[in-house]
């Protein structure tokens, strides 16, 4: 069902367009003056001014792995993030935790955990899907590198970015 839009009947001076044009010119001129006199400022001068201090808490920057207060790596290599990742940026190789390890009861951990930051789209689905609260999107947004290899964050780098996160659920502590 098409909607019929009734066209307004224009007065003769409106049909001249000139008043409309003048009105438009006045609006743009006012913006011009406001910007020129510095009354209005919306642009941030990026390399000098940075977002860091202005970033909201929900900001989605580079994904990273975290350890908890007990220095346990939270990730158990369930590979759900690898599964959910829309651009397939995540590659995980799991391994069994050796029996002499302090956290042997957790049984499984990632042997390697790579996130290809060229592929990553910062959607945050990995954080959302993680059943272990192990992967979080941090506030790092300027991810740079001079080669493709450099842009792949390995496990070490991911823990560097992620750091220690406190106050998470520690379900594995109850075991045994």
């Amino acid at each position: 069902m098409a909607i019929i839009v009734k066209r307004p009947k224009l007065k003769w001076w409106e049909q001249l367009y000139l008043p409309g044009i003048v009105k438009g010119l006045a609006i743009t001129a006012s913006h011009f003056v406001a910007t020129l006199t510095g009354k209005k400022k919306v642009t941030m001068q990026y390399p000098e001014e940075k977002w860091d201090s202005h970033l909201p808490d929900h900001y989605r920057g580079a994904p990273a792995l975290v350890t908890d207060e007990q220095e346990r790596e939270r990730c158990v290599a369930c590979q759900l993030c690898e599964f959910i990742c829309p651009p397939r940026a995540i590659t995980i190789k799991p391994e069994e935790i050796p029996s002499d390890d302090k956290w042997a009861k957790v049984e499984k951990r990632p042997k390697s955990f790579d996130i290809d930051m060229i592929r990553c789209i910062y959607c945050g689905l990995c954080e959302e899907v993680c059943p272990e609260q192990a992967i979080f999107l941090r506030k790092d947004y300027a991810i740079t590198g001079t080669s493709r290899e450099e842009m792949v964050h390995d496990k070490k780098r991911l823990y560097e970015i992620g750091g220690v996160r406190e106050g998470l659920v520690n379900k594995w502590n109850e075991l045994k």
């Binding site: 158990v76 369930c78 599964f83 069994e96 049984e107 499984k108 272990e132 109850e174 075991l175 045994k176």
Partner: protein
């Protein structure tokens, strides 16, 4: 109405089933899935998980002095529903029975059972190999509460127990379905598993002084509905949802066990048996199941090799084919012999037969490979397609002419040998001295091997998981082999090598796929005439009458006849 068919109403719809059908099977045949854990059609039904509770009803029994109920216009009697549920797995249907798999009673029963099962179940899913194919996960989503009311501490039980060389047990995950115990007892005849302790402290364990080391032990991990029993081999390797599953057959012996190959990104992660009641039921031996690691190993041949001045060099496939054809032309047809492998498909054997015709060669045979039958599923014949060799190559007694061939080579009557998909030096069928007098030797094999060392031209041949085709097992069943992964490097399937060799020697033949060769088979070989590749299906078709039977399948048929198991 036939005598032994009974009227049963399932979820309001009337069906007919043979007398003696279990309620759960009747529901399944009617297209209604009744959730269950302990019930397995190939095992006895103890009815201990209580998951399959359904509401049942029978025609009302008239009170004394009351008239019996009148049937409705379709001849069905009214149903009076029982206030208490019954298990569907161990009860058989009765005349005019009603089954409700939905409704408040059934649903609340399932919810309750799920709540009990989950009360002590650990939240291990992120590290559990069963996750993604776990009945507990599936049914808790479908029938569970969605939240836990359990505020107490969960019972701690042994975790990560090595119950056998190939199996790991996690007792906390176990839901006491006893499928594994029954399997080891009834099918593998090695009853080493059992429950100890009582109540919520019940644990599955191996009998003291025993180990779960039977050659069929990994089947317990397959039938375990949760992640209590897991395979050491597959443990933490890959999650279930990543893998691409290919239905194919096992080639370790003549049984041709139906299997599913699970692979991701060209790498095989596990092999599981696939149900085929005429071949392997639901089972397969561990030795066959675990014999796949070499497929993705470093010792694979990836490039064709040509011997130049005593040393092998890597070559392009096309060059290797041309070199082989050129060299073969230097020999008289009576100086050439072909040995193919009993591990090759019917299609490949046909191509070998065509090569034999092109070269006008007299000698063609396969290398026999025999072992001992284990009286379960492993056949004496360790070649998966000996019957194919009989049928396609027309060999009366495959492998009989190998000794004569050795003599001919020693006498220099045979100067060139085409040896496909075999490594007889390792197998012991030939010794290096046997092959030494040869002037020209072509081999193909998936792995680097000592025979290839002697060869003038070596092709990297695709292994069973990298090609498609058909094979005939010991019972004479024609089954399909399907390609699961791509071969590494310039690996070629034997049929491709043979086709290109024939082409280089004699011209084009218009064959582009294994299916094309099957069409050729139906024209060339009388046994195959009239067959279509589509007709074979996933389960194969009876093809030859060999009179050979498989012990495990025969025993199972006997148990079905006795009514011990359902067996569908």
């Amino acid at each position: 109405m036939s005598e032994d068919l009974l009227d049963v109403q399932i979820d309001g719809v009337w069906h007919q089933f043979p007398k003696g059908t279990r309620m759960i099977e009747a529901c399944r045949q009617a297209g209604v899935e009744v959730p269950h854990y302990c019930y397995h059609p190939k095992l006895s039904s103890p009815g201990n998980c209580r998951m399959c509770l359904v509401q049942m009803g029978m025609p009302p029994r008239p009170m004394p002095g009351q008239d019996p109920a009148e049937p409705d216009e379709d001849g069905h009697l009214p149903i009076s529903w029982m206030p208490r549920p019954v298990i569907a797995c161990a009860n058989t249907i009765g005349p005019n029975m009603g089954i409700r798999t939905t409704g408040e009673l059934t649903e609340s029963c399932r919810e309750g059972v799920m709540e009990f099962l989950l009360a002590n179940h650990p939240l291990d899913c992120p590290i559990c190999d069963q996750a993604g194919e776990c009945s507990l996960q599936e049914f808790s989503v479908e029938h569970g509460k969605g939240s836990s009311r359990f505020r107490e501490r969960k019972v701690k039980k042994p975790k990560n127990v090595k119950v056998g060389p190939r199996i790991r047990l996690d007792d906390e995950r176990c839901i006491m379905c006893s499928r594994c115990i029954r399997f080891m007892d009834e099918v593998a005849d090695d009853p080493v598993l059992g429950f100890t302790d009582r109540g919520s402290h019940t644990v599955l364990t191996v009998h003291p002084g025993h180990e779960l080391d039977n050659n069929y032990s990994l089947n317990t991990a397959d039938i375990c509905p949760v992640g209590a029993l897991t395979s050491n081999d597959f443990r933490f390797q890959m999650r279930a949802w990543f893998m691409k599953e290919t239905k194919t057959i096992d080639t370790n012996c003549g049984t041709g066990i139906n299997i599913t190959v699970s692979a991701r990104q060209g790498e095989i992660y596990r092999i599981t048996p696939r149900q085929n009641n005429d071949v392997n039921s639901d089972w397969m031996p561990d030795s066959h199941r675990l014999n796949y690691h070499w497929i993705n190993s470093d010792i694979r041949l990836t490039e064709p090799l040509i011997k130049d001045g005593g040393r092998h060099r890597m070559a392009k496939y096309q060059e290797a084919i041309i070199t082989t054809a050129d060299k073969l032309r230097n020999f008289d047809h009576s100086e050439i012999a072909i040995i193919v492998s009993g591990r090759m498909t019917n299609e490949e054997m046909l191509m070998a037969r065509l090569l034999k015709r092109t070269l006008n060669v007299k000698d063609i045979d396969i290398i026999p490979r025999r072992g001992e039958s284990d009286n379960y599923l492993i056949s004496e014949d360790r070649n998966p397609n000996t019957n194919g060799a009989k049928s396609v190559l027309g060999l009366k007694d495959p492998g009989a002419s190998i000794d004569a061939l050795k003599k001919d080579i020693a006498n220099r009557k045979i100067k060139a040998l085409i040896l496909l998909q075999e490594d007889p030096l390792t197998d012991g069928a030939f010794s290096a001295e046997d092959l030494k007098p040869l002037e020209f030797l072509v081999t193909s094999y998936p792995l680097a091997n000592p025979t290839a060392d002697l060869a003038d031209v070596v092709f990297p041949g695709a292994c069973w998981a990298e090609k498609s085709g058909t094979m005939i097992n010991v019972t004479g069943r024609l089954q399909k082999l399907n390609k699961a992964v791509d071969g590494p490097g310039q690996t070629m399937a034997p049929w491709e090598i043979l086709r290109d060799l024939i082409q280089a020697l004699g011209g084009g033949n218009g064959i582009y796929s294994s299916a094309d060769i099957f069409n050729l088979l139906t024209k060339e070989i009388s046994d195959f005439s009239g067959l279509k590749l589509e007709d074979i299906g996933d389960q194969g078709i009876p093809f030859l009458d060999t009179g050979v039977t498989l012990p495990l399948v025969e025993r199972e048929k006997a148990r079905i006849a006795k009514g011990e198991i359902v067996g569908v």
